[in-house]
């Protein structure tokens, strides 16, 4: 049973690789601290959830791809929500994204934010 809910809003995407690993790392860290963690993907963050994309983004030359941090977060129990409007922005279909993500409207972002003790935005 988690102590508290926290939320990470992810707006960074493939154009800014160095901003793409730490949010997933912080999410896994929060799970290790017994928080119930939701990552909400919007704007360019949604592009990281497109199948095959995270594997090609490297925050550090010679380092691990974003997919490693993303998979760790999922395996640790972080919930992934993606904003339907950002899918329209990028002409994405639900089938384009990894299956672990749940599509929700922007209003869900506000509801999760209101339920969360802390909200971080990247």
């Amino acid at each position: 049973m988690a102590d508290d809910k926290v939320m990470i809003v992810m707006t960074s995407g493939p154009d800014t690789p160095r901003r793409c690993a730490t949010p997933f790392f912080f999410a896994s860290l929060a799970v290790a601290m017994e928080y119930d963690v939701t990552m909400f993907f919007t704007i360019d963050g949604t592009l990281l959830l497109k199948k095959g994309v995270a594997e090609t983004i490297f925050p550090k030359t010679g380092g691990e791809p974003v997919s490693k941090f993303l998979r760790d977060a999922l395996e640790n129990g972080v919930k992934f929500l993606a904003c339907t409007a950002s899918m329209e922005l990028h002409d994405l279909q639900p089938s384009d994204l990894i299956p672990e993500v749940q599509m929700v409207g922007g209003a869900s972002m506000w509801q999760v934010a209101e339920d969360s003790k802390t909200v971080l935005t990247f």
């Binding site: 790392f25 896994s28 860290l29 799970v31 290790a32 601290m33 017994e34 691990e64 490693k68």
Partner: protein, 148 residues
């Protein structure tokens, strides 16, 4: 002191084998807890931080729940407590050098001290002595873990 698959595992500690943590009564009803050498191996051998959740100081943490977190550049994970109890204090030396948890896991590298709430009841759930180490060895063999 015993050596199991290359890992140093003293037989006088009480282990929560599934979580690779140990407990040791240090007198006055206080239990000291830490990570085993196996956990050090699994974490990759070099830590960036070990952080006790200070919000928990003075409150009860249940057996198996996260007491602290360990971080390396590629890994993050919880340090579950082997016993339920009130968190009394964290090892302040960890802030300066988190790697004492790996270099000296049963000495300088202890993580926290706890006032147990059910030591007599929970003691039997922990592995200790030669039988306990045999159980730990089974777990390590099943997971394919060694310190060599």
């Amino acid at each position: 002191m015993s050596n199991i698959r290359g890992c140093n595992l003293p037989d006088d500690l009480f282990y929560l084998v599934e979580k690779h943590v140990w407990a040791k009564p240090i007198g006055n009803g206080v239990i000291r807890v830490g990570m085993t050498s196996v956990a050090g191996k699994l974490s990759g051998g070099k830590l960036a931080a070990v952080t006790v959740k200070t919000k928990n100081l003075g409150t009860e943490v249940k057996q198996g729940k996260s007491l602290a977190t360990i971080e390396s550049s590629k890994f993050v994970g919880p340090v579950p407590t082997p016993v339920s109890g009130v968190l009394l204090r964290a090892n302040e030396k960890l802030a300066d050098n988190p790697n004492i948890v790996i270099a000296d896991p049963y000495g300088e590298g202890w993580i926290a001290e706890i006032q147990p709430t059910d030591w007599e009841g929970e003691k039997s759930t922990l592995a200790t002595g030669q039988a306990g180490l045999a159980a730990y060895q089974v777990k390590m063999e099943a997971d394919g873990v060694s310190c060599n």
